[in-house]
């Protein structure tokens, strides 16, 4: 049986939206697992995924749209992030080496570290990209993001 969506949000690829998106993701995640660290991990991962779409998929074009969906899938929280930008080269989505200290390039590392699974796909039809991420519910803490609550 398909699980109902816990969050279905459509917004512009505009950095000004990020605070609202984080607030909605935080509230939704908190409804599943009442653990500040787990919730902070989810919020940061989604934020970074949105930042990547804004900067790399839409290349700063704030009129583009992003769709964010969250649902429970068995023992996982599943998050889907869709955009309608030209297809990105999935093989080029790689975290930078952390010892290479320079501005930028950390978002993908954050996503892969904080989430249990993540996979990218180009949407059929030649337009759009999908990032699907999963994080196990009630997993043992994997990071130290407890305080990154915002708002």
């Amino acid at each position: 049986m398909t699980q109902p969506l816990l969050l279905d949000l459509r917004f512009k690829a505009d950095p000004a939206w990020l605070g609202t998106v984080r607030e909605r993701v935080r509230a939704t995640a908190m409804g599943l697992v009442h653990d500040a660290r787990w919730v902070a991990d989810v919020v940061l991962a989604v934020n970074e995924a949105c930042v990547n779409v804004i900067q790399h998929a839409y290349q700063g074009n704030a009129t583009g749209e992003i769709v964010l969906r969250m649902k429970q899938a068995g023992v996982f929280l599943e998050i889907a992030l869709l955009d309608f930008a030209p297809p990105v080269a999935i093989e080029e989505i790689q975290p930078r080496a952390l010892e290479d200290i320079r501005p930028g390039g950390l978002g993908t590392h954050f996503i892969r570290t904080l989430m249990d699974r993540c996979e990218y796909a180009n949407l059929a039809g030649g337009t759009g990209n999908l990032l699907r991420m999963q994080k196990r519910l009630c997993a043992p803490p994997t990071s130290t993001l407890a305080g990154n609550t915002g708002n």
């Binding site: 950095p15 000004a16 990020l18 605070g19 984080r22 902070a40 940061l44 934020n47 970074e48 930042v51 804004i54 900067q55 952390l98 200290i101 320079r102 501005p103 930028g104 950390l106 978002g107 590392h109 954050f110 570290t113 904080l114 990071s143 130290t144 993001l145 407890a146 305080g147 990154n148 609550t149 915002g150 708002n151």
Partner: protein, 108 residues
């Protein structure tokens, strides 16, 4: 994001508070680089930062690198727990000079 720039013991202290994300990053970058490129010993005070993402971290790294090129002092002051957590996740917590209080007079 709110900010304030003050001077203390020869340092310029750029105090940030609130959420430092992609929407705030251009302003944060400008605030930091304005001081660093002028050669000021600069501390970025982060006690009031409740959230930071990779865009905010990038501004700090850029300040750190610009100060290194300029030969001036740069550090982070009174880091909040949220910022420290993300710095650690990026393995940058050992890269920056971290201070709980403004250190001895800059340039001394």
């Amino acid at each position: 994001m709110q900010h304030e720039t003050t001077q203390q013991d020869g340092f310029v202290v750029v105090s940030l508070s609130g959420e430092v994300d992609l929407s705030a990053a251009p302003e944060v970058r400008r605030l930091i680089l304005e001081q660093v490129t002028a050669g000021a010993a600069t501390l970025v005070k982060l006690a009031g930062v409740t959230y930071i993402d990779s865009s905010g971290i990038a501004c700090l790294v850029e300040g750190h690198q610009a100060a290194k090129r300029k030969g001036s002092r740069f550090g982070l002051l009174q880091i909040s727990e949220p910022v420290l957590s993300v710095l650690a996740l990026a393995r940058l917590d050992k890269v920056f000079a971290l201070y709980n209080a403004v250190p001895g007079p800059a340039g001394g």
